[in-house]
């Protein structure tokens, strides 16, 4: 009776759908150009703000919020983040690969367009590391400092 599943978890199967990479890139475009339209915004600041916004939103979506918005499999996913739910916890799936590649690519583009000055680099670097660490397979279901720990683990 190990992993009994009556229903597929539709909360975590959407990154595998067709067009999710394209949508992701489109959203990044909109974000970058929307922020760049704000008067008085330099290119460097626009890139940094885009990066930080993207990191913040994806971190909350994939690595902070727990569970599913509906009752599923007797509460199986109650204590798992979206990243842990994706592909049933399997590491290195295509969806996880593209979701890891995109933050690194926008980081490199950010540092390029901000002409490599140190303060923006440091900010981007710290944000990138925060976003990348939970994506490694050895961090599956690891909760540091007891943040987000649920009673499920017994």
């Amino acid at each position: 009776m190990e992993s009994m599943e009556s229903f597929t978890n539709s909360n975590s199967s959407w990154p595998n759908l067709r067009g999710s990479i394209a949508t992701n890139i489109f959203v990044l475009f909109i974000l970058r150009f929307g922020i760049g339209l704000v008067p008085g915004m330099s290119t460097e600041a626009a890139w940094t703000i885009t990066n930080l916004t993207y990191y913040l939103i994806t971190f909350i979506m994939f690595h902070w919020v727990l569970g599913v918005p509906f009752q599923l499999n007797q509460g199986e996913y109650e204590d798992m983040t979206l990243w842990e739910q994706m592909d049933k916890g399997e590491p290195f799936t295509p969806a996880k690969k593209y979701l890891t590649t995109i933050p690194i690519v926008i980081f490199l583009m950010g540092t390029h367009y901000s002409h490599y000055n140190i303060p923006t680099f440091t900010i981007n670097f710290i944000a990138l590391v925060t976003v990348l660490i939970p994506k490694f397979p050895s961090m599956h279901k690891v909760r540091i400092f007891g943040i987000n720990q649920q009673p499920n683990t017994d």
Binding site: Q74, F107, L128, P151
Partner: protein
């Protein structure tokens, strides 16, 4: 000698390095855009080696993540074609139907064959008296016919009328065009009978408890269950994926210990739902749970109670309202009251009664309610009629208890020390007669009990061995003969039946030199 060796290896190393460098230069000059990349990297360096290093680290991480694949199974064994072929040739399929054991064979041969009814007006199918294939009538003490309405004529007439009106099956789950007016009426009647706010009908008695428990208890919740609970509760507990703690059968001290242990181990964790699950009258032993003590403990430790009263509903208590009434507790004080309608109400299916929220939640979460067809109308009507019989003549419940008491007295006064019968609760309708001391193995005991059953059937009383799916039971009860008291028999008949069983035991035990 060594000198030439050293100079030879040196020569080899130099040629290797030379060829690698020239290869790299070839690639660099031939791949288009290689110069651009090189210039870009050189420009972006900008005399900050740390930063460049960090960026390179990220590029390496990205490449590693991209090209890595999930680890293969550690125990993957690669077989050659020949080995695969050998394994296929050696394989022999298991028999679809395994050989029967000796006990199963004798069971099959001596099975009581009931002469079924062919005409509507003959009364020969199951009931209080049964006609077997050899033409003789026998008293039926093997059916859960507590108030004696099994095969009753007035109820059958109403059921046939319902059959003509509604057809046979209800053709759908209750939530999707399967609810009929008779279902609603039955739910309301049951709620009114028990004095609770509302109730919900399930179409199979066994799957009622198995659906109610997972509807309320999920993965992080805690269930404290009596370890003599039957298979339907055990399946429900398994399906709920909750943490289960068992306490010794009817042992209130052990229950309090378990509750206290749970309290201590979950002191710092967030509060989750907690339930105590017990049967009212236990199928495995025939005793009643200590409901007042359980309710006191549940109030103290803040648990909810799920009471499964299949063998108590209709036959325990002054008016048949089950185990709570036996102790003077209102059934509405039990949070979730579950029972089967296949016993006292001689119909099919089960119900769950409780507060409105409890019942309404099950209309979407009770899996057997949402995903199984609803109770056929004719069975709902027979349950309704049986309930009316019980309401108008509550003395039937008392009669059932009195018959049970009389039968137990016969066994206690029998003076046969090799058999024993539970006597702490003498008014429960299920009587288990067991051997006082265990034999070498279970097969032998079952064999002896089967002989007793066969002797009883020959002498005019139908009883049965208590049967279990041995591989699946958590705590397999001791082998026993199960006698079910019924208000359909007179007190004299019940006592006569008990003495028949007693004499059969005497005979068989003498033959086996056990008494």
């Amino acid at each position: 000698m060594s000198q030439t060796f050293v100079s030879e290896t040196a020569h080899k190393v130099v040629t290797a390095v030379n060829s690698t460098v020239s290869l790299a230069y070839d690639v660099y000059s031939k791949v288009p855009g290689a110069t651009v990349v090189y210039k870009y990297v050189r420009d972006s360096h900008q005399n900050d080696p740390v930063r460049t290093l960090l960026e390179l680290v990220f590029i390496v991480v990205m490449a590693w993540y991209f090209f890595n694949n999930k680890p293969k199974g550690k125990n993957e064994v690669k077989l050659t074609e020949k080995e695969i072929q050998e394994l296929c040739d050696e394989w022999e399929p298991e028999d679809l139907v395994p050989e029967l054991t000796e006990l199963q064979n004798s069971d099959l041969e001596n099975m009581a064959v009931i002469a079924g009814q062919i005409l509507i007006n003959t009364n020969s199918a199951s009931g209080t008296k049964v006609k077997l294939a050899d033409g003789k009538e026998r008293l039926n003490f093997a059916s859960n016919n507590f108030i004696g309405v099994m095969n009753s004529e007035p109820i059958k007439e109403k059921a046939v009328a319902a059959l003509r009106k509604y057809g046979v099956g209800s053709c759908g789950p209750p939530g999707f065009y399967g609810t009929l007016d008779v279902h609603v009426e039955l739910e309301q009647s049951l709620a009114r009978f028990l004095g609770v706010e509302s109730s919900i009908i399930y179409s199979q008695g066994f799957s009622t408890a198995s659906s109610v428990i997972p509807a309320f208890s999920k993965r992080s919740d805690i269930l404290v269950v009596d370890d003599a609970c039957g298979m339907s509760i055990l399946k429900g507990v398994e399906l709920s994926r909750s943490t289960v703690k068992f306490y010794k059968h009817n042992d209130m001290k052990d229950l309090e210990t378990v509750l206290r242990k749970v309290q201590e181990s979950t002191k710092k964790k967030p509060l989750t739902r907690r339930f105590i699950i017990t049967e009212g009258v236990f199928t495995a032993y025939g005793d009643i749970c200590n409901l007042p003590a359980i309710i006191a403990l549940k109030e103290k430790y803040k648990y909810r109670l799920i009471l499964e009263d299949s063998l108590g509903f209709g036959c325990i208590g002054q008016t048949g309202r089950g185990t709570p009434e036996h102790y003077g507790i209102a059934p509405a004080d039990v949070d979730v009251y579950v029972a089967s309608m296949a016993n006292a109400l001689a119909s099919s299916g089960g119900f769950c009664a409780g507060r409105k929220e409890i019942v309404e939640h099950q209309r979407l979460s009770g899996l057997s309610y949402t995903f199984s067809a609803s109770l056929p109308a004719l069975l709902a009507v027979s349950a309704l009629e049986a309930l009316k019989v019980l309401e108008t003549a509550p003395v039937l419940a008392v009669q059932c208890q009195q018959n049970a008491i009389a039968m137990r007295e016969v066994f206690q006064k029998s003076g046969i020390s090799q058999i024993r019968v539970l006597d702490t609760f003498s008014n429960t309708p299920i009587i288990h007669v067991r051997l006082s001391s265990r034999l070498a193995n279970r097969q032998e005991e079952e064999h002896i009990l089967q002989e007793v059953v066969d002797t009883c059937i020959r002498d005019g009383v139908i009883v049965t061995r208590a049967r279990y799916v041995e591989a699946q039971e958590l705590a397999l009860p001791v082998p026993s003969i199960k006698i079910m008291a019924s208000a359909g028999h007179s007190k004299k008949d019940s006592e006569k039946a008990a003495s028949v069983v007693k004499d059969a035991f005497k005979k068989v035990l003498k033959v086996h030199r056990l008494g």
